[in-house]
C-alpha cells in the first residue's frame, strides 16, 4: 500500500476508478461513491457486490477512521447474508433487509447536498470582506462579564474528557484490631484450654480479622500465654493454653 500522503490511490474496482485518499468523510460517503461510480440505484443496492467492493476499498485505503468503516463493513456482510436467506412469499409482508441502509443513504445524501449548498454559501460570503481596520476601543468600563451554566458544563465535560485515565492509588487504612482478637482468644482458652485456628478466627472472618487474629496469637505466644502446635505437617494449627503463662 502506498504511503498515506500519496495523493491518489487506485482501486481495482473498475477502470479509471481513482479516489482521493482523504476524499471520504465517512463510510456512508464511500458507499455513495461506490454506488455512483457503478451507476447503481440506491433503492436497489446489489448488496453482495457492493459489500465486496466496500471491503476491498477499506482494505486498500487503510482508512484511518477504521472503526467507523469496519462497523459499516460488518453491517454490509450481515445484509449480504440476510439477502441469501429464502424469502417468504412476496405478499407475506416481506421487509427488505436493505431498508434501513437505503434510508440512511438517502438521508446522508440529502445531508451531503445541504453541505455542498453550505460550502457554496460560505464561499460566496468569503468573497465579501467586513471592515478590517477598527480603531482602538474606547476607554469605557468593561461590560458585565457573561457566564452561563451550559458553558460551564461544557467546560466540566472538557475537563473530564481530557483526563487521560484515572490514575488512582487507593491507599486504604484498614486498622488491624489486635486487641479484640487477643480478648477473644483469651476468653476461648479460659473456657476450653485448647482451641483450633478456625475457632480463634470467629464466625465469618474478614481478611482483617485473619490478620488481627494471627498477630494476636503470635503476640500471646511471645508473651507465653499460649502455645501454638501443629501435630503433623499441613495439619490444622492447635492453640493450647500455656499453664505457665496464665499463672505468671
Amino acid at each position: 500500500m502506498t504511503a498515506p500522503e500519496a495523493p491518489t490511490t487506485a482501486l481495482g474496482a473498475g477502470p479509471g476508478f481513482v479516489v482521493q485518499l482523504d476524499a471520504f468523510s465517512g463510510p456512508l460517503d464511500l458507499l455513495l461513491h461506490l454506488l455512483r461510480d457503478e451507476q447503481l440505484e440506491i433503492a436497489d443496492i446489489p448488496i453482495a457486490r457492493i459489500a465486496d467492493q466496500f471491503l476491498q476499498a477499506v482494505h486498500e485505503l487503510g482508512l484511518n477512521q477504521a472503526a467507523d468503516y469496519l462497523d459499516m463493513a460488518s453491517r454490509l456482510v450481515r445484509l449480504k447474508a440476510q439477502m441469501l436467506l429464502p424469502r417468504r412469499s412476496e405478499d407475506d409482508g416481506w421487509e427488505d433487509p436493505r431498508a434501513e441502509l437505503v434510508r440512511r443513504l438517502l438521508e446522508y445524501q440529502q445531508i451531503r447536498e445541504i453541505a455542498v449548498w453550505m460550502g457554496r454559501s460560505a464561499e460566496r460570503r468569503s468573497e465579501q470582506f467586513a471592515r478590517g481596520y477598527l480603531p482602538a476601543p474606547p476607554e469605557l468600563p468593561p461590560p458585565p462579564l457573561t457566564l452561563d451554566l451550559m458553558v460551564l458544563l461544557q467546560a466540566v465535560e472538557r475537563v473530564i474528557s481530557a483526563i487521560p485515565s484515572p490514575v488512582l492509588h487507593r491507599v486504604v487504612a484498614r486498622p488491624l484490631d489486635v486487641e479484640s482478637a487477643t480478648r477473644r482468644i483469651e476468653a476461648l482458652l479460659e473456657e476450653r484450654g485448647e482451641i483450633a485456628w478456625l475457632d480463634a478466627l470467629g464466625p465469618r472472618p474478614t481478611i482483617v480479622d485473619v490478620l488481627s487474629t494471627l498477630l494476636a496469637l503470635l503476640e500471646l505466644a511471645k508473651r507465653g500465654s499460649l502455645r501454638l502446635l501443629q501435630p503433623a505437617p499441613f495439619s490444622p494449627m492447635v492453640i493450647v493454653r500455656d499453664p505457665a503463662g496464665t499463672t505468671a
Binding site: 468523510s25 465517512g26 463510510p27 456512508l28 460517503d29 477512521q65 472503526a67 467507523d68 459499516m72 450481515r78 440476510q82 436467506l85 421487509e95 433487509p97 431498508a99 434501513e100 434510508r103 440512511r104 438517502l106 438521508e107 446522508y108 445524501q109 440529502q110 445531508i111 451531503r112 447536498e113 445541504i114 453541505a115 455542498v116 449548498w117 453550505m118 460550502g119 454559501s121 460560505a122 464561499e123 460566496r124 460570503r125 468569503s126 468573497e127 465579501q128 470582506f129 467586513a130 471592515r131 478590517g132 477598527l134 480603531p135 451550559m150 458553558v151 458544563l153 461544557q154 465535560e157
Partner: protein, 194 residues
C-alpha cells in the same frame, strides 16, 4: 444622507459584526424602529445607486456593511485581506445535520453521518459556529447542539429560514418520523430473522 442614516452608517462601520435594527435604534433615542429601518434602506439604496465598493446586507438577523464580491480577487491579490479558510467536508456535513435538526445530540449526528463526531463538534464549538443549547431528557442527559449567529454570518444568511427547504433538495425524503419508524421495523426484522 439624513442625519440618522449617517449615524447608522458610522455605527455599522465601527462594528465588527452585524448589528440588529433593535441595537441600532439605541443609538438615537428619538428614533423608532421604523425610522431605523427606513434609514437603513436609504443607506442600502445609496450604496447601490452610487455604485459604492461596499454594500449593506442583512445577515444573521442584523445588518452589516461588506465589500462587494467583485473586488475580492483584487483585494486578495494585493494581500490587504484574506478569505476565511474553507470548512472541511466533515465540518460542513456536521453543520448541515445540526442546522436542520437542532437542538440535536451527538449520537444523532453520528448516526446520520456514520462517523464519530467528537473532534468535529469540538472544533466547530471552538470556532463559535455551534453551541450547546440544552440537554436531552434521554439517558445520560446528553448535550444538545445548535448553530450560532456566527454560523449564519459565515454563510451569509439572514436566518435559518434561508436554508434550502427539504422539498427544494433533489432527494425528497419522507418525514423524519416515518423513516425512524421504518428503521425500527427494519431492526425488528433483523432480530426476528437472526
Amino acid at each position: 444622507m439624513t442625519p440618522l442614516a449617517q449615524l447608522l452608517e458610522a455605527a455599522l462601520f465601527s462594528a465588527c459584526r452585524p448589528l440588529t435594527a433593535e441595537e441600532l435604534s439605541t443609538l438615537d433615542q428619538d428614533a423608532t424602529l421604523a425610522d431605523v429601518r427606513v434609514a437603513l434602506e436609504q443607506v442600502r439604496e445609496h450604496y447601490d445607486f452610487e455604485q459604492h465598493g461596499v454594500e449593506l446586507l442583512e445577515l444573521a438577523g442584523g445588518y452589516q456593511i461588506l465589500t462587494r464580491p467583485i473586488h475580492a480577487a483584487a483585494i486578495e491579490r494585493a494581500q490587504f485581506s484574506v478569505r476565511t479558510p474553507k470548512l472541511t467536508a466533515a465540518a460542513l456535513e456536521t453543520l448541515a445535520v445540526i442546522s436542520y435538526r437542532q437542538p440535536v445530540g451527538r449520537a444523532e449526528i453520528e448516526e446520520i453521518r456514520g462517523v464519530s463526531a467528537g473532534g468535529v463538534l469540538r472544533s466547530l464549538q471552538e470556532r463559535g459556529l455551534i453551541e450547546v443549547v440544552g440537554r436531552s431528557e434521554g439517558l445520560g442527559r446528553p448535550l444538545l447542539y445548535g448553530t450560532t449567529p456566527l454560523f449564519l454570518e459565515l454563510l451569509g444568511m439572514r436566518d435559518l429560514a434561508d436554508l434550502p427547504r427539504s422539498d427544494e433538495l433533489t432527494i425528497a425524503l419522507q418525514p423524519h418520523r416515518a423513516s425512524a419508524e421504518g428503521m425500527d421495523d427494519a431492526a425488528a426484522y433483523v432480530e426476528a430473522e437472526s
